[in-house]
Amino acid sequence: MTKNIYKFLLKRYVVITPILLVLVVAQIESYSQLTTSGTFGAAVRLAIPIMLAGLGGLYSEKTGIVNIGLEGMMIMGTWFGAWGGYTFGAWQGVFIGMLGGALFGLIHAIATVSFQVDHIVSGVAINILAAGVARFLNVIAYQDVAFASSTASPRIQGDIGRLTVPYLAGGKINDNETFNLFGSIEDLDLFLVSDAAGLVLGFLSNISHLTIFALALIPLSVIVLWYTPVGLQMRSVGEYPSGSESLGVNVYLMKYFGVITSGALSGLAGSYLVVAGTGTYLEGQTGGRGFIGLASMLFGNYKPFGILMGSGLFGFADALQLRSPDAVHGLLIVISIFLFVLTLKNFYEKKYRVSVITLILSGGFLIWFLNSTSIPNQFVYFTPHITTLIVLSFANQRIKLPEKIGVPYKKGELN
């Protein structure tokens, strides 16, 4: 038993070592921002759009359609979300944003399912189309509105509402303050315990209602995809379409359903950025998060809870980038030590050349860490993107892709 746990931990060293290192580094005063509830709260807010996009990618790819257009569908979500929010109100904005994304999902489905266009080509075209459409719509929709420009919309009306759990996180009941259990634990500054309390507090306090809705979609997706007949049909279509066809599954319908759901979820991701975030549409606001969502889906090995983990990681990197650029400096030493661990591992496995390279890199990061007090802003800005690449390069070997992913399927053709 103990041996198994030990084995399990050793196998997961790629995930566990950095987490432990971050926890240790966070004990140093100037990097304490790494694990405060504030940072975790921001991480949750930033992880949700990535998670939703990843979930969107899941629905599409499980039915065998590669969806590079997630980013474009997300752009539609931001624009329609802001427009709906400005015209009608916050929740209506969310709904309209989802419709906008779903519309682009429909376009992708028509191109890839009905016309068998190459999935990536269609996705790329969708991204270009979305950028153009959003720009154009923004110009014509707010021609006579103050506080709007060709690249920004006016503020949305109303608010989505926020929740802080009473007793555990100090939320209010009938306007009376309650005890803040995790908050007081966090203030104790105990190693690990306080950091964990900060993590929990980040999930419990000042949480947007939309976040709760989004998080509920994770278990819901597990149920829909793995425990309903429709889910089984969707997955079978991605694995073996001609076989499904012979069993009476409507392959095209399932693919349409998957891609449109994918669009709606990406649209939700986009409108989340607006409604729970900035409050306005800004051009370029999605900043590649659709693609990071796709990466979190790969990281999560096509499982909803895996996507949640992956997007949490990327959200954390994004939160550091936005909230505490100074704390990112602490990550340098984390990277350095982690590379050193890799060196030892490779040396032990007699991969000498690799171990020399990682040792040099490790030394480089150590020197950088010792000779600087902060990381330049321009580097901090791409923290999430480089995290994506690093994480994928460690996680990618064990992925189980749907069998017929990206293969165009035409009724009556064997493939």
Partner: protein
């Protein structure tokens, strides 16, 4: 291929154009503008002498960018990172080129070499990540675009900034006279117009080189066979991993040339407002031109024409952003019609073949 089928395959872009114009007209009607009048204004403005020079200048980087994308497309490799690659190459070439002065042809050749090799190196990262780490090139190149943007803005401010300049924003030192490409106006008697970039010749050479590379060399054959049938390619002895890296590096090398038209012909230095977005626009042109050197040239000219001629629209109270929509419509519709026509042609060929068997 029979003439009949050739004509059929040419019809796809024409149909797409017609439908996009139709859709755009509907949108114009919807926002209360007269489409016929709008297109007339655009056409008149776009065919003025001044506009034509500008259109050719705009189409040069678009065309080269499309070729960079097409090299990858030919083997089913999607290099979405041309954007980051050309900016990286242009920045380094602009800086290195400004540091010395020799006779013009050698100087320009040297700048081209620097740009090509640095862009190719940047692209090689994506190739490495795909081969060694199994990261799909679409994700890695997109992420590298963001990383590249950060690195460029950092190094422009801190390393390559012109020393002692009183200009507020960071910029590289200006290229010396020997590093500037002379315009072609004297050659074509265009004294009263703005500069026609000399880089247009390079673009034509690049087009011919691309044709030779893809259709006349072993590497090109490997690329095409891998693109149309990866399994057959593997059995014919092609090493797919090596080919991925080579294709990525070649694509990046072409990308290095994208920024040089504007750099050598007009900007003469890398600044904050150096043209961006050419990499993404190139993807559209490559899709429209079906990776064919001639088709992409037409596509680049068409998109450059739309861009230029839409500039007049704001003066006539029509939002010029309609042009971006039109480009996107053309793109999406054309990929659908290419697929329809391809299936039609395959069907016809099967029919013809079975007829031959019968008789």
């Amino acid at each position: 291929m029979k003439l009949r089928l050739r004509i059929a395959s040419l019809s796809a872009p024409l149909i797409a154009l017609a439908i996009s114009f139709g859709l755009s007209s509907l949108i114009l009607l919807f926002i209360g503008k007269d489409p016929v009048e709008t297109f007339q204004i655009m056409f008149e403005y776009g065919t003025k002498g001044k506009s034509i020079v500008s259109i050719i200048n705009r189409s040069i980087p678009l065309y080269i960018s499309a070729i960079a994308v097409a090299v990858g497309f030919k083997m089913g490799l999607f290099n979405i990172g041309v954007e980051g690659q050309y900016l990286m190459g242009s920045l380094i070439a602009a800086f290195v080129g400004s540091q010395f002065s020799i006779i013009t042809p050698i100087h320009i050749l040297f700048i081209i070499l620097i740009a090509v090799s640095s862009s190719a190196l940047w692209a090689a990262i994506a190739g490495y990540l795909k081969v060694k780490k199994g990261i799909h090139e679409v994700i890695s190149t997109i992420m590298l675009n963001y990383i590249g943007t950060g690195l460029i803005s950092y190094s422009l401010t801190n390393i390559f900034d012109e020393p002692g300049s009183d200009y507020e924003l960071p910029r590289t030192p200006e290229l010396p006279e020997s590093g500037k490409m002379p315009p072609l106006n004297n050659l074509f008697n265009l004294e009263d117009l703005q500069d026609l970039h000399g880089f247009v010749f390079v673009a034509i050479i690049v087009g011919i080189f691309y044709y030779w590379l893809v259709w006349k060399t072993t590497l090109g054959f490997d690329l095409r066979i891998t693109g149309s049938n990866p399994v057959a390619a593997k059995f014919s002895g092609i090493n797919p991993n090596r080919l991925i890296v080579v294709a990525m590096v070649t694509s990046g090398g072409f990308a290095g040339l994208v920024g040089l038209g504007p750099l050598l012909g007009y900007f003469h230095r890398f600044t904050i407002d150096f043209p961006t977005g050419l990499g993404f626009a190139g993807i559209g042109v490559a899709l429209l031109g079906r990776n064919h050197p001639f088709g992409m040239a037409v596509g680049a000219l068409l998109f450059a024409f739309l861009e230029r001629s839409s500039q007049i629209l704001d003066l006539n109270d029509v939002p010029k952003e309609i042009e971006q929509m039109m480009q996107a419509f053309i793109l999406l519709i054309v990929v659908v019609f290419y697929e329809i026509i391809r299936r039609f042609i395959v069907k016809q060929q099967i029919k013809d073949a079975s007829k031959k068997v019968e008789t």
